[in-house]
C-alpha cells in the first residue's frame, strides 16, 4: 500500500499537510507536528519584518465552525531563518523515508516586498514556497488586492517565481471570489507550479448578545472548521477543472474520509488546520490511520491514483 504523494517533484510520505498559520511559531512545533504523523508542514506566513497582528480574542470555535483573526503576527525573515533551519536540520537527520517536506509560506503588502521576501525564503531553502495572497486578516483588506483580481494574483505569482530560484512556487488562493478558476488560471499562466485551495471563508462575525459587541478584536475573521467543508470541496473541484497544476485542498478536514473526498475533487495533498483544534495535534496520525483503513477496505494500492477520481467521471 502506497500513501506517498509526489507534489511539484517533492515526495510527501502521506497526503496530510499542516496548513499555514496553525502552530509553527517555534521551529520545534513543526517537528512535533511531524512526530504526530503529518506528511508535510507549512510555516506561518513570513513577513520581511516584524508584523504584530491583532489583539485578542484572535480565534475561537464551536462544534460547527472555527473563526480567526490573528492578523498574521510574525517576527520577520531573520526569525523564520532560525526557526525553519532548526526544523530542516532535524528533518535531514531523520532516515530518508521519514523525512517530511517543509513548505515556506510568505506574505507581503506590495509586489516589491514579495520580491524581497521570496529572495529571503529562497535562501532559507524550504522544499516548496507557498505565496499567501489571500489572508482575510491583514489590516482591513479582505484578501485584496492580490487574490481577488486575476491581474494582481498573476503579478504576485510572477515576481515570487522570478525570485524563488529552483524552489517550486505554489499560490494560496482566496475562496471568496466569484470565479476561482479564473484566478487559478492567471496564477498558472504566471508560473505557479501548484495551488493551495483555499484560505478561510468570509469574513464572518460573532456577536456577544450580552454586551452587543463583536467578539473578535478585529470584529471580523476567516471562517473554517467542519461547516465549510462542502464549500471548500467545491472550490477544489472548480480549481481542478480550470488548471493542470496540482492542488493542496483544505477546509474543514477532520477525518481520513474527508481527505479522500478532497483528493477525489482534485487535490493531491490535503491541508489540516482547524482539525488541530477539534482532534488535537494527534489529528494527523489519526487521519493517516483512517486513510489506511479506507485504502484496505477499498483495495486501493496507490493513493495518488484517486486524485480527481470524482472529477474525471
Amino acid at each position: 500500500m502506497n500513501m506517498t504523494i509526489n507534489f511539484c517533484g517533492v515526495t510527501f510520505p502521506n497526503p496530510t499537510v499542516l496548513a499555514s498559520g496553525i502552530l509553527g511559531v517555534v521551529g520545534d512545533s513543526l517537528k512535533n507536528v511531524v512526530i504526530n504523523g503529518a506528511g508535510g508542514v507549512t510555516s506561518k506566513s513570513v513577513w520581511l519584518t516584524r508584523h504584530d497582528g491583532h489583539p485578542g480574542p484572535v480565534m475561537m470555535g464551536t462544534q460547527n465552525f472555527y473563526i480567526n483573526a490573528v492578523g498574521l503576527p510574525d517576527g520577520g525573515i531573520e526569525k523564520a531563518r532560525e526557526e525553519l533551519k532548526k526544523y530542516m536540520e532535524w528533518n535531514e537527520s531523520q532516515p530518508e523515508e521519514k523525512q517530511v517536506p517543509l513548505i515556506g509560506n510568505i506574505v507581503a503588502g506590495s509586489i516589491k516586498d514579495f520580491a524581497e521576501i521570496a529572495k529571503g525564503m529562497r535562501q532559507i531553502g524550504p522544499d516548496i514556497i507557498e505565496v499567501n495572497i489571500s489572508c482575510p486578516n491583514v489590516e482591513d483588506e479582505f484578501g485584496r488586492p492580490f487574490a481577488h483580481c486575476a491581474i494582481s494574483a498573476g503579478a504576485a505569482t510572477e515576481i515570487v517565481k522570478k525570485n524563488a530560484g529552483k524552489i517550486p512556487v505554489i499560490v494560496k488562493l482566496s475562496p471568496n471570489v466569484g470565479n476561482i478558476g479564473e484566478i487559478a488560471k492567471a496564477c498558472e499562466a504566471s508560473g505557479a507550479e501548484g495551488l493551495t485551495v483555499a484560505n478561510t471563508f468570509g469574513p464572518g462575525m460573532v456577536i456577544d448578545i450580552d454586551t452587543a459587541e463583536p467578539i473578535l478584536a478585529n470584529k471580523v475573521g476567516g471562517v473554517s472548521g467542519p461547516g465549510i467543508k462542502p464549500l471548500a470541496v467545491k472550490k477544489v473541484w472548480d480549481t481542478a477543472s480550470a488548471v493542470k497544476i496540482p492542488i493542496i485542498g483544505m477546509g474543514g478536514v477532520m477525518t481520513g474520509r474527508d481527505v479522500i473526498e478532497f483528493m477525489m475533487a482534485g487535490a493531491s495533498l490535503v491541508g489540516i488546520g482547524a482539525g488541530v483544534y477539534y482532534r488535537g495535534v494527534e489529528v494527523f496520525s489519526s487521519v493517516v490511520a483512517e486513510i489506511e483503513e479506507w485504502m484496505v477496505e477499498n483495495k486501493v494500492a496507490n493513493l495518488q491514483n484517486i486524485v480527481g477520481k470524482a472529477l474525471k467521471k
Binding site: 496553525i22 509553527g24 511559531v25 517555534v26 480574542p57 475561537m60 470555535g61 503576527p73 460573532v206 456577544d208
Partner: protein, 275 residues
C-alpha cells in the same frame, strides 16, 4: 465543544495588596488548580489568568496590575462590571490524597497554589506552604493561608521585612532536608512539591528536588493567545508543544526538556526575550 466567551458579572472585588485584586464571579467554571481562563475585555484584548479558587458556585481570578490590560481592569472594572470568560484551559496540578506536600509560591504564584492547597487539604493532605515575595507589602494570600487547617505557612522576603530574609527556595531545601530524617510516617519518599512563580525560581526548585529525589510539578508561563493549542504562540523550544494544552503544569522531568528554560520566553510574534 464551545470556546466562545461567556459574559459574566463581577460579583465582588477584593483588594489583596497594593498591586493585586481578586475578581470573584458566580457560576460553576469546573476548573482544577493550575488551570487558567481567557478573559475578554470587549474592544480591548483577551488575556489568560490562572484560577485562584473554584467551587460549584463561584470562582476567583487574582490579578496584578502589570500591563495595559490589567491596569485598565483595575481602574475600570468594579463590582457589577461584565467580562467575557472562556475556559478552563490547560491541565492543572495533580491533586493528591493523604500525602505530605510542599507548595512553593513566588509572588503572584501564591494564588493558584492557594487553590491547590485548598483541594489537597480536602483530600486529607498535610501542606507546607512556602510563600515568597520582594517585601511584606507584596505578599499574597498569606492571611488566608495562615488560617487553613493542616497547612503550615512559611514566609520568605527578599528584604527580610517579614519571615526569613532571602529566597524562598532556601526554605524548600531546609524542609526537604528535615523531612529526609523525619520519622513522622511521611518520609521523603512520600513528599511531593508543586511550584508556581518566576521561572528562575522554579528551575532552582527543580534542581533542589532532583537532588533530593522528590517529584515536582511546575507551572510554565508563555505568551498564550488561543488557549486551545492552535495558534502556536506558546509552544516551547525543545518539546515543541503548546503550553496552553500540554501545560501549563508540567512534571519537572518534562519541563527540563524545554530548551531555554529559565533563560528565555517569546513575545506576541514569537521573538525570544530573556527572562
Amino acid at each position: 465543544m464551545n470556546d466562545i466567551p461567556r459574559v459574566l458579572k463581577i460579583v465582588e472585588v477584593r483588594m489583596e495588596n497594593p498591586m493585586v485584586k481578586t475578581y470573584i464571579f458566580k457560576g460553576n467554571l469546573g476548573a482544577k488548580p493550575g488551570q487558567f481562563v481567557n478573559v475578554w475585555m470587549p474592544r480591548v484584548d483577551e488575556k489568560p489568568f490562572s484560577v485562584a479558587y473554584c467551587d460549584d458556585k463561584e470562582f476567583w481570578l487574582t490579578i496584578a496590575a502589570v500591563g495595559p490590560f490589567t491596569k485598565k481592569l483595575h481602574k475600570d472594572f468594579v463590582k457589577g462590571s461584565k467580562l467575557g470568560v472562556r475556559g478552563p484551559y490547560g491541565n492543572g496540578y495533580t491533586v493528591l490524597k493523604n500525602k505530605h506536600i510542599v507548595l512553593l509560591a513566588g509572588g503572584y504564584g501564591a494564588a493558584p497554589l492557594y487553590f491547590l492547597a485548598h483541594e489537597s487539604v480536602k483530600n486529607g493532605c498535610k501542606v507546607e506552604f512556602i510563600v515568597g515575595a520582594k517585601n511584606k507589602d507584596l505578599l499574597l494570600y498569606t492571611e488566608m493561608i495562615s488560617k487553613m487547617e493542616n497547612v503550615s505557612l512559611h514566609i520568605a522576603t527578599d528584604d527580610g521585612s517579614v519571615g526569613m530574609k532571602g529566597y524562598n527556595t532556601l526554605i524548600l531545601e531546609k524542609l526537604l532536608a528535615e523531612q529526609n530524617g523525619s520519622s513522622d510516617g511521611h518520609g521523603i519518599a512520600e513528599l511531593f512539591v508543586a511550584t508556581c512563580g518566576p521561572e528562575v525560581m522554579m528551575k532552582s526548585a527543580m534542581d533542589i528536588c532532583e537532588k533530593a529525589d522528590v517529584p515536582i510539578e511546575v507551572s510554565i508561563e508563555r505568551y498564550m493567545k488561543c488557549g486551545t493549542g492552535v495558534c502556536g504562540n506558546c509552544c516551547v523550544d525543545g518539546l515543541g508543544v503548546p503550553v496552553c494544552k500540554k501545560g501549563p503544569v508540567m512534571r519537572g522531568e518534562m519541563a527540563r526538556k524545554i530548551s531555554g528554560l529559565a533563560k528565555w520566553h517569546r513575545d506576541n510574534v514569537g521573538l525570544k526575550i530573556n527572562w
